[in-house]
């Protein structure tokens, strides 16, 4: 990107070569860096989102390896405890806000117009803006490591009043989250408007592809809760610098209030990070089972139920703050209820596989891997939901294991599945199947080596977010660290496979996969710059 000015200078001349191109709407497109900076094309923006999130995934991953390296054996070897806390905090913030969320927006940018038969997103310039807010926000997060006092070390949940003890790194994180939140809201509005207004003739709501459905619901969740997070962190900011006492009992505030507000955002956020994953898997499994998705309408209703329930379960993250029994019971009942629609989805996927004609290319491997490991995360979620059991495992490694089973094995594996599934469509080349399979098997094995032992650590009593531990926890920590390094290195296989696929490989057909269905497969691979110039008819 260093040669951007030169490219900008020649961009004007590009016009000459495109005189004949009036018909295909190719305007004087700048090249090089300016092409990416000024683009309003949903595919370019989708690509940038995906590269951005992959970059942040590696940054967050390096932080995770920093955590695991320190925990390899008891005692403090590498870091001071305060730096260790910075690592856990920033790993969480970067993975949630920098890797998972933007990656799904990247998928949405690429796929929503293709799947609904639209030429582009509804608000093309806002689309550009919502992406270009991300790099400055990510820069703020990363730079915060280098300010006096370092990055925020209050945990990704940013609980008050610990946040008031942090240095300027905390303020940088707050600003970064404000910017990321603004970006998410803009992206969501764009997605909602695109889906509701730009569907091809004949595509009624109940004929929409599942990925589009899940993103429509996710976008509403985002619009509802990102402002709540913005409120919580703004109050944190004024508590820190302007003498307010929203979360300070001495001034009439309440530290627990922060947790209520945070988790009112935070629990729907969990579904923001998983619903699009459900959407992806709902495309991959039917394609490779060569059989239509079982129970389409129940999938739509289940997704909506999960979204609605997600607003009334937040305090299950707070079972030990000392709520009245009635509060504990309400949140326990509401939480176990979520298992019903989630179960429906899992059963529907199984029924889709049942009596199909399955093949196991990499996307399908990741989808089945997702189904298996995500369901295990669902089981431990049920255990956590039972309030008395949660009393023992809250804030232990059991919870760490649980949410990595749903976030890594859930969201991340589904995204890998989707990436391999649509990569030939996006690039026009087939990826290297052997490398893809290596990536899957290494990932799923090392994932389990890393996180399965954490269940035992949590049950036996190891708290999370500690830099050092009693020797009774030594064996499993060592095992988890070995697994984590294996898992981290395995992701380089993915990077290499993607780069190789972009640079060349067997030409992909328009259909790509024998059993794939949907409008995106009617376009060439890669699709034309403006996806559908004439809206397709959907019967």
């Amino acid at each position: 990107m260093a040669h951007s000015t030169a490219d900008a200078a020649v961009a004007g001349h590009a016009h000459d070569h495109h005189d004949h191109a009036h018909d295909d709407h190719a305007h004087a497109a700048p090249s090089g860096f300016m092409r990416w900076l000024t683009t309003t094309n949903h595919k370019d923006i989708g690509t940038m989102y995906l590269w951005f999130s992959l970059t942040m995934f590696f940054v967050g991953g390096v932080l995770a390896l920093g955590i695991r390296a320190e925990l390899f054996k008891p005692g403090l070897q590498l870091w001071h405890p305060e730096f260790f806390n910075q690592l856990t905090t920033m790993h969480g913030l970067i993975m949630v806000f920098g890797a998972i969320m933007p990656a799904f927006v990247g998928f949405a940018n690429w796929l929503v117009p293709l799947q609904i038969g639209a030429p582009d997103m509804a608000f093309a310039r806002m689309n550009n803006w919502s992406f270009w807010l991300l790099p400055p926000a990510a820069t703020l997060l990363v730079v915060s490591f280098f300010v006096p006092g370092g990055a925020t070390a209050a945990g990704w949940t940013l609980y008050a009043p610990l946040t008031t003890q942090m240095g300027p790194g905390m303020d940088l994180a707050i600003f970064a989250l404000h910017i990321l939140g603004a970006s998410s809201i803009m992206g969501s509005i764009n997605i909602v408007v695109t889906i509701l207004n730009m569907r091809a003739p004949g595509m009624t709501l109940m004929k929409m592809p599942m990925f589009v459905w899940t993103w429509l619901i996710t976008a509403y969740l985002l619009i509802a809760v990102m402002p709540v997070l913005a409120g919580a962190i703004t109050m944190t900011l004024t508590d820190r610098h302007f003498g307010t006492a929203f979360f300070n009992a001495a001034g009439g505030g309440d530290p627990v209030m922060f947790q209520h507000v945070f988790w009112f955002f935070g629990h729907p956020e969990v579904y923001i990070m998983i619903l699009p994953a459900f959407g992806i898997v709902s495309h991959v499994i039917p394609a490779f089972a060569r059989k239509p998705l079982f129970g389409y309408s129940s999938m739509v209703y289940a997704t909506s139920s999960i979204a609605i329930l997600s607003f009334i379960v937040w305090a299950h993250h707070m079972f030990v703050v000392g709520m009245p029994a009635a509060g504990v019971l309400f949140f326990m009942y509401a939480t176990v209820l979520i298992a019903v629609p989630t179960g429906v989805k899992v059963f529907n996927w199984l029924a889709t596989m049942w009596r199909g004609s399955m093949t196991f290319e990499t996307p399908m491997l990741f989808a089945v891997g997702f189904l298996f490991v995500f369901t295990m995360g669902g089981f431990t979620g049920l255990i956590c939901a039972i309030a008395p059991i949660d009393l023992q495992i809250q804030d232990t490694y059991y919870v760490v294991a649980h949410f990595h089973y749903v976030l890594v094995a859930g969201s991340l594996f589904a995204m890998f599945s989707g990436a391999y599934f649509w990569l030939p469509k996006w690039t026009g080349h087939m990826y290297d199947e052997t490398l893809g399979k290596w990536h899957f098997w290494l990932s799923i094995i090392f994932f389990n080596v890393t996180f399965f032992p954490m269940h035992f650590l949590g049950l036996a009593g190891m708290p999370r977010r500690i830099p050092d531990y009693n020797i009774q926890f030594a064996d499993f920590n060592m095992l988890a660290t070995i697994g984590a390094f294996g898992f981290g290195l395995s992701q380089l296989v993915f990077l290499y496979t993607v780069l190789k696929c972009i640079r060349g490989g067997e030409k992909a057909t328009a259909q790509v996969w024998e059993g794939a269905e949907g409008l995106e497969w009617t376009l060439s691979s890669p699709p034309p710059y403006h996806s559908f110039e004439v809206p397709p008819q959907v019967k």
Partner: protein, 379 residues
């Protein structure tokens, strides 16, 4: 210390043999010693059976399908994609299972929330980074102590072999009688902490400015070890909770001894101390309380904790330093400008630590000697 790889192998073998270990439980909750902890243990076991059952059925179906319904074995795809009856069934059946799970859990919630009619009430206060225990009601009322981790820094930094209770040992244990209902009130001085003893099945956040409660009735004498479980800053990993459960008679004796000690503490604060006495005591207090941030060398840590060597506060008027230690300092923009208040320490400990810092390293403050009475007057 055992070689980690060997002990890993050992534990796998022990698991395979179904062996009961005398060491702390490794794969499950610690052996419960209260009714609540036992209820939780049983709930967890029951849940695991249900989940294992569902696991076997769901993934049995999945792997059967993966095995039989693949293209490579020539299976042709069916075309069904809807069945209202099936959908209703797999909505209703999980509902029934969930009710079966939530029902027994409800009675346990009501039981652990019932803190009424305790025999003994103790307030547990979370400080960065230690616990304070005040016996409020019942036998031993009036006893008050701080409980800090005693694991030496050499063990943490790897210069000495780690003991069995590494990071889970304290100077003053929370001591309670067996078979008595003990109500724990939790609160905190600075940020949120959380009080947890795994064997008792009690976990309750300690929230600054608010009082919350929980309870336990330990059924077996012994020493039980837990630790703070809410991220509370730098030394969150180093604030253990150790409970010593004694028989009725031993507890009575412990109370008597402790009340005697409390009188002695009051007496010692009243008398004049020599500089040597204060320096000797101050070195210990400094190592236990202050060194975590200001470092054993007094040099602090760049951009985080200020150096005491050459510090204006330490070299200046003693009254200012006493005020700062007692009240702490509220954070400004930079993290280096704040310090937690240390008022929970005794007058003698504060006087000793201040005297020590004013004379240690290269410091030679003019008012080099601070008496406990001065601290008392400044409170």
């Amino acid at each position: 210390m055992k070689h980690p790889c060997r002990s890993l192998l050992g534990s796998v073998l022990a698991l395979a043999a179904g062996g009961a270990m005398a060491e702390p439980a490794k794969y499950l909750f610690q052996p419960p010693v209260t009714i609540i902890a036992r209820d939780i243990y049983d709930l967890h076991t029951a849940m695991m059976w249900i989940i294992t059952g569902i696991f076997v059925v769901v993934f049995g179906v999945m792997f059967y399908s993966i095995w039989k319904h693949r293209k490579s074995v020539g299976h042709k795809a069916a075309h069904f994609h809807e069945s209202t009856a099936v959908e209703i069934a797999w909505t209703i059946v999980p509902m029934i299972i969930l009710v079966g799970m939530a029902f027994p859990a409800t009675s346990v919630v009501l039981a652990y929330k019932d803190t009424s009619n305790p025999d003994l009430t103790i307030k547990a206060t979370g400080y960065q980074w230690k616990w304070g225990y005040d016996y409020i009601n019942g036998e031993g009322a009036g006893i008050s102590m701080l409980s800090s981790m005693t694991t030496p820094r050499e063990q943490i930094e790897g210069d000495a072999p780690k003991g069995e209770f590494y990071l889970r040992e304290v100077d003053n244990m929370l001591t309670v009688p067996v078979n008595k209902k003990v109500r724990i009130l939790t609160t905190a001085n600075d940020v949120i902490h959380s009080f947890w003893v795994p064997e008792f099945g009690v976990k309750q956040d300690a929230i600054p400015g608010f009082v919350r409660d929980t309870w336990f009735r330990a059924e077996k004498e012994g020493i039980y070890r837990g630790q703070c479980v809410e991220l509370c800053g730098k030394d969150h990993g180093f604030m253990p909770i150790v409970v010593n459960v004694l028989s009725g008679e031993k507890y009575t004796a412990w109370v008597a001894e402790h009340q005697k000690a409390a009188v002695a503490t009051a007496d010692e604060a009243a008398r004049e101390w020599t500089k040597e006495e204060l320096l000797a005591r101050g070195e210990k207090v400094y190592a236990a309380v202050c060194a975590a941030c200001h470092q054993p060398t007094g040099q602090g840590l760049a951009n985080a904790f200020p150096a005491l060597v050459g510090s204006k506060v330490v070299q200046g008027p003693a009254s200012e330093q006493v005020k700062l230690v007692l009240n702490g300092r509220k954070g400004g923009f930079m993290p280096t400008s704040q310090m937690p208040a240390q008022a929970m320490l005794s007058d003698t400990d504060i006087a000793a630590a201040i005297t020590y810092t004013r004379n240690a390293w290269s410091n030679h403050a003019d008012e080099g000697l601070v008496q406990p009475s001065v601290v008392k007057a400044a409170r």
